[in-house]
Symmetry: C2
Subunit: 358 residues, 2 copies
Amino acid sequence: MLEQFRVNLDEAIFAQGEDLKRTAAGVFEKMGVPAEDALLAADVLVLADLRGVDSHGVSNMLRSYVTGYQSGSINPRPDWKVVRETPSTANIDCDRGLGVILAPKGMDIAIQKAKQVGVGMVTMGNARHLGMASYHAMLALEHDMIGVCMTSCPPSVVPTFGAEPRLGTNPIAFAVPSGNEAPFVFDAATSSVAGNKIGIARRLGAKLEPGWLVDADGTPIMEEIDAPDSYTLLPLGSTRELGSHKGYGLSCMVDILGGVLTGYGYGAVPGRPNFGHYVAAYSVDAFSDAGEFKTTMDEWLQMMKSTKPAPGHDRVLVAGQAEAEVEEVRRADGIPLHPEVVQWLRDTCSELDVACLI
Amino acid sequence: MLEQFRVNLDEAIFAQGEDLKRTAAGVFEKMGVPAEDALLAADVLVLADLRGVDSHGVSNMLRSYVTGYQSGSINPRPDWKVVRETPSTANIDCDRGLGVILAPKGMDIAIQKAKQVGVGMVTMGNARHLGMASYHAMLALEHDMIGVCMTSCPPSVVPTFGAEPRLGTNPIAFAVPSGNEAPFVFDAATSSVAGNKIGIARRLGAKLEPGWLVDADGTPIMEEIDAPDSYTLLPLGSTRELGSHKGYGLSCMVDILGGVLTGYGYGAVPGRPNFGHYVAAYSVDAFSDAGEFKTTMDEWLQMMKSTKPAPGHDRVLVAGQAEAEVEEVRRADGIPLHPEVVQWLRDTCSELDVACLI
């Protein structure tokens, strides 16, 4: 995440992760979510806050989940079920349940299957928002498995040369176990920037970079601009010359795996008010020795981090490293929250009669 | 592929696909490759030529394979074997065999496993060049399966902020079955441009786009330049602001799945003269009804292609569409070859005593 998208630390109010989690869990419970699921949902949101993925934490997402539960669009007690299954696969009807809560359950199924036959792959249709995709992918790590998670979102991104949004920001997350090094954890939208960052930029008054949005007629905006109220994003690569057909194609793949393959529609199905998810676990031992793999991953991670930097840069980062560093700081010092977010949280807790620990 | 990277049709010599295939197969046989494998290798190269993927066809690749066989770096009769296996996975030691020939065999194993348990996933270490990744992914289509193929290549791409290459161009290919529409076939390097295109640009005297290469010190070159003799590429996204950390992260993932996971090293292992491959097949029926899936894919493909275009563009394309269109033309009119390529092919055939049909 670019620095300009972080809350200004001088005006921030700091919350301990545990306090924020218990507070958020209280809000989920008041939405009708069972206690255990409420705690899980809060854990997913707060881990995003702890890792500096502010776009997917309590501050940026809880509000929209509350709105979704209150409007009846999200089902707090979904009767989710596996509708098709093979030794290595399952497809789940999520009954309008929040992906934040159901993707970990799908990932558990994938992990159990990977233990049995090497790979587990689970599609999840008729769902709601996923939260931070890497949370679910990382569940595979402690089993010496590679975790994968993708989600097909409602349209906000144009295809290359297109003037209308046809794809969601459709993120892809991978988590890979390591030995002593922080694990490789990749989590990124296939658009050139995650949609949530536009809202954060608006709140913080930050400028948007060139290559993120299109004009009303679909032309890529290649200069710096203020964050508009409504927007349509460009795929990763921004323009055809820079490779936007690749970001567009990867986004399509996510829409197919997390959408079409579930049998519950894809991002641009008119009126589809849902998200489709895809989670997978690959057992390392099904390919090669897990111990040797983790040793090689450490060597690989060190190699990548020790790359000589280009002028103007102190160091080369590898996916998951910045997040692990922020997590260490925020677990000690707390999570910096924007005063407006804290005010909303306090008001909401007071309204819902939830103990606010913030 | 951008138009400036196509051979000028006025000076091109046209070859029928079947003639080019038989000629190339003859060259492979003279390298010591068994007849059946030689025909397979020629089929992979010529399909690239037919689909307009000139960077991976006879014209751009056969020469380097001949050099590899002649120097002893590629083994024409590899004793390849499965070294680890589960119901859904296998890992293969390729014994320095050409990926062009062995990846279809790996894909066959993946397809058989997907028939049994839903998903098949095969890693292939100690291999040589893959050829066009989508060839292997497309083998899944006739089985109503989604095909995936990736390859970990020797380093030519910098990490974001890096001044040294640490990753290969590490392509990702996906092929998805459809009904009446041409299948979705995505195949792209995770660098902002495929390395082979630089060589083609040099041969054709075409300019390179901004955002493709770095300067000697690792700074992204953001203006148009002539194709240099040696070069280091940028990851997809080109700069941090445009999202190059995403292209970099995806490239890492390919290096892990096609490299580290095989147990035979990764792209940047000093002196590793090899490539590692990853192929997978997902049975559509393991998730939802294959017939319904293909109907929905047709609808999805039509939706994407009918997107209103932005000013200056006639239409929106979907991955695999341009290639299918070129294939139709080239199957009828022949494959346009650069005169220099034809001269090399004729000289080589004469030297090796191969019947040249071009």
